[in-house]
């Protein structure tokens, strides 16, 4: 009862006399208490956890959660689609048994859900097949970029003697438009899946390497201060609890964000004729095929369907990536 009464009575200069407040307190309490050294340490702000704060920030973002569900569903469906009953092959050319002709440009319907293309292939199957190709490409490029980026970034950050050289290399590559580098490499190496991966890896690792380098320099300098000033553990704790998780989350993020980028470049390169061979269904090839017949309004579904799926995927990745990036930045953990 005393506690309740006292809590509502803030330290009052003048509102109620000290004696009046004191009178409410039991005299028997004026004896020494047992000192508990652990209790003294228990205050402070130990309730901060990097991943928990990141998750909280992320879960608060309703839009991002919606896109997470959407992307999850899309990805799942892309990979189970061929296993479902009644699915057609993305490359098989369907022939009308009655006429012996190809089922050309059949409008969407019960047999061909998304219709067929100009040579009688099933668009539904091609879209999911193309999405698989594009996602695989994106994933491969993402992982390769991550490995290259981390390696270069780590060397860049740790080996002081190489700092200048790598910075110059970075500046050179960074000064050339990405489009040009991509086009040139794809042109020289001749179109293929491998070419595509190499060309995109050649530019994509830059940003990550730079980030890793900066982060390592921060950690390195902290370590240095730590050693020279004997400050004890707090710095190390900051590194382990804050900087490292941040590093890890940004690396994950960049890998995820490179996927829509890769998909976009694939479409672009395909347009200029430097994309994947037409025999491989990919989102780039589908968009390009759709573009060639887009002037006939009744055939526009061949352009619309692939671009809708493609846009849903890239937007989801992008929004999710940025939501995660905001949530994972320790500076936003307020």
């Amino acid at each position: 009862m005393i506690r309740g009464a006292m809590m509502r009575e803030p330290l009052a200069a003048g509102s109620e006399s000290a004696e009046a407040i004191a009178a409410k307190v039991d005299a028997s309490l004026f004896v020494p208490a047992d000192f508990d050294a652990n209790a003294a340490e228990r205050g402070g702000y130990s309730d901060y956890s990097y991943w928990r704060s990141t998750m909280r920030g992320f879960l608060k973002n309703r839009v991002a959660l919606g896109f997470l569900l959407l992307l999850g569903a899309l990805l799942l469906f892309t990979f189970v689609q061929p296993l479902l009953p009644g699915q057609k092959s993305p490359t098989h050319i369907h022939i009308d048994p009655a006429t012996g002709m190809q089922y050309r440009n059949v409008a969407p319907g019960a047999e061909f859900w998304f219709g067929t293309n100009t040579i009688g292939q099933d668009l539904w199957a091609r879209i999911w097949g193309g999405t698989r190709t594009s996602l695989m490409l994106g994933l491969l490029v993402g992982v390769a970029e991550m490995l290259i980026g981390i390696t270069f970034g780590a060397i860049w950050g740790y080996v002081r003697r190489l700092d200048g050289v790598i910075t110059e290399i970075y500046n050179v590559i960074n000064n050339i438009p990405t489009t040009i580098v991509l086009m040139l490499l794809a042109y020289i190496l001749r179109p293929s899946f491998k070419t595509m991966v190499i060309a995109m890896c050649a530019t994509g690792w830059l940003g990550l390497a730079r980030f890793v380098r900066n982060q390592i320099v921060i950690i390195r300098d902290r370590e240095y201060n730590l050693a020279s000033r004997c400050l004890g553990t707090p710095s190390r704790r900051i590194i382990v609890k804050n900087l490292l998780p941040y590093l890890v989350s940004v690396i994950m993020l960049q890998t995820a964000l490179s996927i829509p980028g890769t998909i976009g470049w694939e479409v672009f390169l395909t347009y200029i004729g430097l994309g994947l061979p037409v025999s491989i269904p990919s989102l780039g090839n589908l968009v390009n095929e759709g573009r060639q017949i887009m002037m006939s309004p009744e055939l526009r579904y061949q352009l619309l369907f692939p671009t809708i799926i493609l846009s849903l995927i890239t937007i989801s990745f992008y929004v999710l990536g940025n939501a995660f990036s905001d949530a994972s930045d320790p500076r936003n953990h307020v």
Partner: protein
């Protein structure tokens, strides 16, 4: 300032040299068929050798490079091999430069005006409706591949607004869609960076002092935040030129604009090696020069850079 300019110029020249050499050497990796056009199969082995000999392609690479640089200094980038056989490359490119430049300049100005305005309004209304609306636009432009949304702008924009589908230099209305299309990426970029820089500035200590002085929020915005945010934006200007280049390659070809971007797509499809080489060099140089100018612009605005030894602080 002069010292900084010279230093930065030297840096750019070195970068340019490395890029030119790298492009040249990479192009040597290509199979020689590309220099013959359609007639390759009809020629005998010795005839082929004679042609290659004449073009100097059988020399060791350093001799070729020497010859290439000699030509470059004289303003000679070689002759087209397929696209317009035996016509000097610069003669093919020359008439196309004005188109690319006009579109580039118009698009950059559009992007600058609209993008900065958008960014400022986003930062001022941070977290509110307008901010969210423009953020949606930025997300869209960044997330949806440019090859896709530009296509749809052409497809539906031309029919909805009753504009010509292809570029026609005698028809002013055919300028509108390509120019706007080219600026869309830049607008998103400027808006995003302007917003970010302004929010960054808002969180700085000197804003606290400005506020403690008794300045009103709007004065702080105009006199301190916006002013300071323009400085890093100056550096972003060339980056946006790079973006315009990327866009122009696609857009010029989409609308059949007789500029350099469309030409690059054409010569890639026709596999004209010397033309590809020349255009790649031109585009890379534009990028490098743009970044150089951006750094100068920034140094002009930021009194701290004149003293710093490290040069570009990006």
């Amino acid at each position: 300032m002069l010292k900084y300019t010279i230093k930065r110029l030297g840096q750019s020249l070195i970068t340019l040299f490395i890029v030119v050499s790298a492009v040249f050497l990479l192009m040597r990796l290509l199979p020689v068929e590309g220099y013959f056009g359609d007639g390759y199969d009809k020629l005998s082995e010795s005839q082929r050798e004679a042609v290659l000999q004449k073009m100097g392609l059988l020399d060791p690479w350093y001799v070729q490079m020497g010859a290439f640089y000699k030509g470059l200094l004289r303003g000679d980038l070689g002759v087209s091999t397929i696209y317009r056989k035996d016509v000097p490359v610069l003669e093919v490119i020359g008439p196309r430069v004005p188109y690319s430049m006009k579109f580039g300049i118009v698009a950059t100005c559009l992007a600058l005006i609209a993008g900065l305005g958008m960014g400022v309004s986003m930062a001022k209304n941070k977290g509110k409706g307008l901010d969210k609306l423009w953020t949606g636009y930025v997300v869209f432009v960044n997330a949806v591949p440019l090859a896709v949304y530009l296509l749809f702008i052409q497809l539906y924009g031309t029919s909805l607004l009753d504009l010509p589908l292809l570029f026609d230099k005698y028809m002013p209305s055919s300028w509108i869609l390509p120019a706007v299309s080219m600026s869309l990426g830049g607008i998103a970029g400027y808006a995003m960076w302007m917003r970010r820089y302004m929010v960054d500035e808002l969180n700085k200590d000197y804003i606290k002092l400005a506020k403690a002085k008794g300045l009103s929020q709007s004065t702080i915005m105009v006199r301190h935040v916006m002013r300071n945010a323009y400085v890093p934006m100056a550096q972003y200007l060339p980056a946006s030129i790079l973006m315009t280049i990327s866009g122009s390659i696609y857009i010029e070809s989409l609308y059949s604009i007789p500029g350099m971007g469309g030409l690059l797509v054409d010569v890639i499809q026709r596999q004209d090696n010397t033309m590809v080489q020349a255009l790649v060099l031109i585009f890379s140089s534009v990028g490098i020069i743009g970044l150089f100018l951006g750094d100068l612009l920034m140094a002009l605005f930021d009194p701290r850079i004149k003293l710093s030894k490290s040069g570009a602080s990006r």
